[in-house]
Symmetry: C2
Subunit: 225 residues, 2 copies
């Protein structure tokens, strides 16, 4: 019993570090999954459908979530409205690119990495943005509303819908030597966190209760419960 409590407290103690530890830089797919899970927002590039920039690239900011911090699925979900300027672009051409950078987290500040440095790891998804429905819309809603609770109060007359980036290519800038690519298959198979126990907690209604689930899994597993 004493040992199991020691393990439980140890997991509590190391947990913040566990959530912030970037995987080894040469483990590119894991790095990509780590960045995707750590980032709460992304920049989306579309081909503009609006004058006077029709046909030109257009960059915009969107909140994203692939699930709880520490146990995301890698799928970048978004909550969109057709009233939004970039979403109107997507209705004409659904091809898009999402970039996410650890510059938006404390990671790069902590290590004093410039946002443009590859050490301040950033990733780029190429693909298309598609609406999700039925079961996947529930998954998307849980993933998004957990990390963006304000979304639950966004105006109901805005025709909101859940969407995801259908990834065809992952580009990773995480170290010197130029961009690296990861296939969607390798990306989704990667385990970004060392202590990842393989059980999603996305149905958990409370912020951080996925962490409690993780701790309790470690505790009960180690205590033989």
């Amino acid at each position: 019993m004493q040992l199991s409590w020691a393990v439980f407290l140890l997991v509590f103690w190391v947990y913040p570090g566990y959530l912030q530890d970037i995987p080894p830089r040469d483990d590119v797919a894991r790095v990509a999954r780590f960045v995707a899970n750590q980032c709460g927002w992304a920049s989306m590039a579309t081909i503009s459908s609006r004058d006077p920039v029709k046909g030109q690239p257009f960059s915009n900011t969107f909140s994203v979530s692939d699930g709880p911090l520490g146990s995301g699925t890698g799928v970048p979900y978004m909550y969109l409205t057709r009233l939004e300027i970039s979403v109107q672009d997507l209705q004409v051409n659904s091809q898009a690119s999402l970039s996410m950078s650890l510059a938006q987290t404390d990671f790069c500040r902590k290590y004093a990495y410039d946002p443009q440095s590859p050490l301040c790891a950033h990733i780029i998804f190429s693909g298309s943005v598609v609406e999700v429905n039925d079961t996947e819309a529930v998954v998307a809603k849980n993933a998004l509303f957990l990390r963006h609770p304000e979304m639950a109060d966004w105006p109901s007359d805005h025709d909101w819908f859940f969407a995801k980036m259908n990834i065809t290519q992952v580009w990773v800038l995480d170290y010197f030597g130029g961009v690296k690519t990861v296939t969607p298959e390798d990306y989704y198979n990667a385990k970004p966190y060392k202590l990842h126990l393989g059980k999603s907690a996305m149905k958990c209604p409370l912020r951080f209760c996925d962490n409690i689930q993780l701790w309790s899994e470690v505790y009960f597993h180690s205590s033989g419960a």
Copy 2:
């Protein structure tokens, strides 16, 4: 003398707030200049020139600077290398879009604004990215190296050059009701900071010495020196 010291200390005391105060939301050009000056990095959308995503939009992260915090010029300067994947896109098609969001600063966290909320103000530039030379390259270097001191040590064999976004349209998402547009002329004429004294300190070699210049200007002006 007592009064002038009081003014000097007051400016010291209010200065941090002055640097963080967003202009009134309906003063759109000022908001755009404020966001551009507060943000140290941007997401750039280009049209990809690389297989297998040739012709598709591509999003990537770049450090930017329009000058010292509190007295920028509004011109988003960048330090680029032709080895970089998005810069290779620009060599084929220089049309680009830069988005910057206060989500990257403490502002949105302080007020608990979701990154996708328009209250977490974000701006988008449309235009093209062009190399700058001669006198403007010196201005760009001072603006960038002041806010990104790591750049001075980036590898010299990477063929770095200074560039700027040649802005043709500014899009502002800073309040409910949809995107607003600002002409480049109105954008460059706007004064984002209440206490802006109109004197650039971009040649100042020290981080924050522009602030000292501002304080001293207020002090000497108020004391009649």
